[in-house]
Each structure stands twice: as structure tokens, then as C-alpha cells.
């Protein structure tokens, strides 16, 4: 084993940016698979919250149908928020974030990959479960595609904004309440457009316009949020 083969940065041995993202993504997905019980928690939370509304308001589907879109979105937002606390916490404790920041690779890009993993692990399952919850609130089966699309795109934007909040509260003890206080007001446009898209889908109307606005926010988030999250992570390491 040659230890003396010292290399200098930027040489031909370095993997491509694509490989870097793939590795970061694969690491998070593998870890999530090893601790799959944790993945269930936000979904269970989502199911419980949507169950509470009929119990608190009315069991009549005719009474639930008009508020179904709002219920789905508030529940989705809260469960996404619940999952956010875990986004960087372990990586911050075990020094992974430190190694990311000192790898000489773009921290923005690495956090982009991490956020993508987070979305795949929380946003996608939520979007897939949402039509079931909607059905329980009196929504027709035909609304399912609209619900899945709006929640899937909305959770992209939520994960991105949440990543900034999670990174900002890294150095803070008992960060849960603060994380909500930071993230929820900033998420208002997502809830407005998302709930509108879902509502239109439930009514069987075209939901293209709000979904496009949602997608625009997601694209803006994709370009800016990882930058802000990287800045926040660097601050937490100081």
C-alpha cells in the first residue's frame, strides 16, 4: 500500500459532479433504508392529522368535502416539517457535514443531493398516500392524479425551504419550535397554490394554473435554496 502517492486537488482522479451527487444521494437512501421505521413516522403523522379533522368537525362527507384540500395541505405541511428536523441533524452530529464542507467539492451541490434524497423519502410517500386520505374525506378517485401532482411538486418546494430552516437551526438547542416559526410563514405561497390546485382537482376542474405557479416556486427554490442552505451549514460549522 503506497501511502506516499500524495495527490493534489483537482487532478484527474476526482469523480465527476454527477458521481458526487449520486454518492451523496445513495448514502442517504441506504441510511434511510437501514432505519426504515423512521420513514413511517411522518406518514403516520399525516394519517393521524387527517383523521382528527372528521373527529373534530363532522363525520359527514358532505361537510368534509369542501375543506378536504385545506386539510390535506395543512397535514402535509406539518408532516413535512416533522421530517425536516432529521434532515441535517445526524450529519451534523457525526461530522459528515464537516467532511462535506471540507471536501473541496461544492457544498451547494452536495446539499442539493441531500435535499433531493429528503424529498424522495418524505415528499413522494406523502404524495402517494394523500389520495387515500382524500378519499377518506369524500374526494372522488378521479381526483387522485391532481392530488399526487400538486403534493409532489409542492413538497419539492417545501423540502427546499425547509432545508434552509433546518440548516439555520443546526446550532440551536431544542430547535423544533423555532424551525416551524422560520419555515411556516415562508411556506405560505406553497400552501396557497398547492391547496388551490388540490381543490380544483377535487372539483374535477383544470388545476394547471396553480400547479404551474407551484412549479415556478419549486424551480426558484431549486436554484436558490441550496445556496442559502450551504451558507447556513457553513455558519453552523464555525
Amino acid at each position: 500500500m503506497s501511502v506516499t502517492a500524495i495527490t493534489v486537488a483537482g487532478h484527474e482522479d476526482a469523480p465527476s459532479a454527477f458521481t458526487v451527487a449520486r454518492l451523496a444521494l445513495a448514502r442517504d437512501l441506504t441510511l434511510a433504508y437501514r432505519k426504515r421505521e423512521q420513514l413511517i413516522q411522518p406518514l403516520a403523522f399525516f394519517a393521524i392529522v387527517t383523521t382528527l379533522f372528521p373527529l373534530a368537525i363532522t363525520p359527514e362527507l358532505s361537510g368534509l368535502r369542501p375543506i378536504a384540500a385545506g386539510v390535506l395541505w395543512v397535514a402535509a405541511l406539518l408532516s413535512a416539517l416533522l421530517a425536516l428536523e432529521f434532515l441535517f441533524r445526524d450529519d451534523s452530529h457525526d461530522g459528515t457535514l464537516e467532511q462535506y464542507a471540507l471536501s473541496g467539492r461544492s457544498l451547494t451541490w452536495l446539499l442539493f443531493a441531500k435535499t433531493a434524497a429528503h424529498w424522495a423519502l418524505t415528499g413522494v410517500p406523502l404524495a402517494l398516500v394523500a389520495p387515500l386520505a382524500a378519499a377518506a374525506l369524500g374526494a372522488p378517485i378521479s381526483a387522485a392524479p391532481g392530488i399526487v401532482v400538486s403534493i409532489a411538486i409542492g413538497t419539492v418546494a417545501l423540502s427546499l425551504i425547509g432545508a434552509i430552516g433546518a440548516a439555520l437551526t443546526l446550532g440551536v438547542k431544542r430547535s423544533g419550535a423555532l424551525l416551524s416559526l422560520l419555515t411556516l410563514p415562508l411556506s405560505v405561497p406553497i400552501v396557497i397554490f398547492g391547496a388551490r390546485a388540490t381543490e380544483l382537482a377535487l372539483k374535477g376542474e383544470s388545476y394547471a394554473a396553480p400547479v404551474e405557479l407551484l412549479a415556478a416556486i419549486a424551480v426558484l427554490g431549486l436554484t436558490l435554496a441550496p445556496l442559502a442552505a450551504a451558507a447556513a451549514v457553513r455558519i453552523s460549522l464555525e
Binding site: M1, V3, T4, A5, I6, T7, V8, A9, G10, D13, A14, P15, T19, V20, L23, A24, A26, R27, T30, L31, R34, K35, D90, D94, G95, T96, E98, Q99, Y100, A101, L102, S103, G104, R105, S106, L110, R234, L237, E238
Partner: protein, 209 residues
């Protein structure tokens, strides 16, 4: 390639009220080990974190190869490895996976190379074990394998011998010896004397604020 050197000039750093680094200056060149000692709270960890660019000193600068590291942090980071108090390992990944994901971000790596690195740090059979099942000393050795695999010129080590038995401490000494023998640089914050040959060793004692 010109000779490698790391220089710090007049580093001042405050943590809130505390003036932790008070005009620290140091220089290490290829083939040398700088052993940083000092009592707890003297700023050893802070110094290492300021050297690698995680912390921003309010005054002074760090120079790598004649250039201020702030001018090109990515290149500087590409040339260094920083190991903190805890090995940067995931408990739910195997030793081999940990190294694949950690080292793999920075250079292409194969399972065979990982296996031989683990062998060189004295834990050949542990590649497929989950890190959570390893002892603290074994984890430390996995991190040392990462050090070997990365093969970057500058090592910044915070207490590299923590949790290691006397044989492990000799291993750290040998790794540093080989690394600097090949032209590399090491800055290590330690409580106990490093087991390296005296002609390579330079010392820096930090006094408590």
C-alpha cells in the same frame, strides 16, 4: 511540484467574550509534523478549525503554497483532510460503505483499495461490519484508513490517538511518519507525545487564554 508549505500569520479569533487565538503564527513544510499541545481550552481545536477554513479568524491569514487560502478555498480543501474528535462515520453503514461514500466524494475508489487500506490499519476483517458494532478504537482505525485512502498532502488531526491502545498509537505514529516521509505535512493537536522521529517533529504550545 514546488515544496509544500502551510503558514499561519498572526491569527486572532474570538469566541464571544473569549480571545481564543491570540496572534498564533506557525509554519510547516513538506516532510514535517507540527505537534500542537496545550491544556484543555487552550484553543487547539479552534486552531485546527481556523487552519482548515471552517472558522474565520478576525485577523491574520492562512497561507498554503504561497497563496492566501481564502483566495481559493476549494483547491485548498482538495489538498487537506481534517479529522475532528469523532471519526466522521455513520453508525448504520458498514466500514467499507462509510469509506466508499466519504472518500469517494473526492477520488475514485475501489473495494479492493478499501480492503487493503483497512488491512494497513490493522482491521482487515471488519470491512462488512456495521460501524455501530465496532469499538471506539476500531472506529478510529476506520477513520485512519480514510486518511490513507485520500492521500492528500495536508493532514489536520485533532487528537488522532484518542481511544487507541499503545499499538494503535504506534500505528498513528507510523502513518504520519510514512506520510511526511513522502513529502506530506501533518498538523496534529495532541495530549500525548506523537510517536514520530524527532527530526520531523516541530512543536507549538498554546497557552490558555
Amino acid at each position: 511540484m514546488s515544496e509544500l508549505s502551510l503558514r499561519a500569520e498572526n491569527l486572532h479569533l474570538w469566541r464571544g467574550e473569549r480571545h481564543v487565538l491570540r496572534g498564533v503564527a506557525l509554519e510547516v513544510t513538506g516532510g514535517e509534523v507540527l505537534q500542537v499541545t496545550g491544556t484543555n481550552g487552550a484553543g487547539k481545536t479552534t486552531l485546527l478549525r481556523a487552519l482548515c477554513g471552517l472558522m474565520h479568524p478576525e485577523e491574520g491569514r492562512v497561507v498554503w503554497g504561497g497563496r492566501d487560502v481564502r483566495d481559493d478555498l476549494a483547491t485548498f480543501h482538495g489538498a487537506l483532510i481534517y479529522l475532528g474528535h469523532e471519526p466522521p462515520l455513520k453508525a448504520d453503514l458498514t466500514a467499507c460503505e462509510n469509506l466508499k461514500y466519504w472518500v469517494g466524494l473526492r477520488r475514485r475508489i475501489t473495494v479492493t483499495r478499501i480492503a487493503s487500506a483497512l488491512e494497513s490499519v490493522g482491521i482487515p476483517g471488519l470491512a462488512e461490519r456495521l460501524v455501530r458494532t465496532l469499538s471506539a478504537g476500531q472506529k478510529r482505525r476506520v477513520a485512519l484508513a480514510g486518511l490513507v485512502l485520500l492521500a492528500v498532502p495536508l493532514w489536520l488531526l485533532d487528537e488522532p490517538t484518542t481511544n487507541l491502545d499503545s499499538e494503535g498509537q504506534r500505528l498513528v505514529g507510523r502513518l504520519i511518519e510514512e506520510h511526511t516521509g513522502g513529502g506530506g505535512l501533518t498538523v496534529a493537536a495532541v495530549h500525548h507525545e506523537l510517536a514520530v522521529s524527532p527530526q520531523r517533529l516541530r512543536r507549538l504550545e498554546l497557552a490558555r487564554a
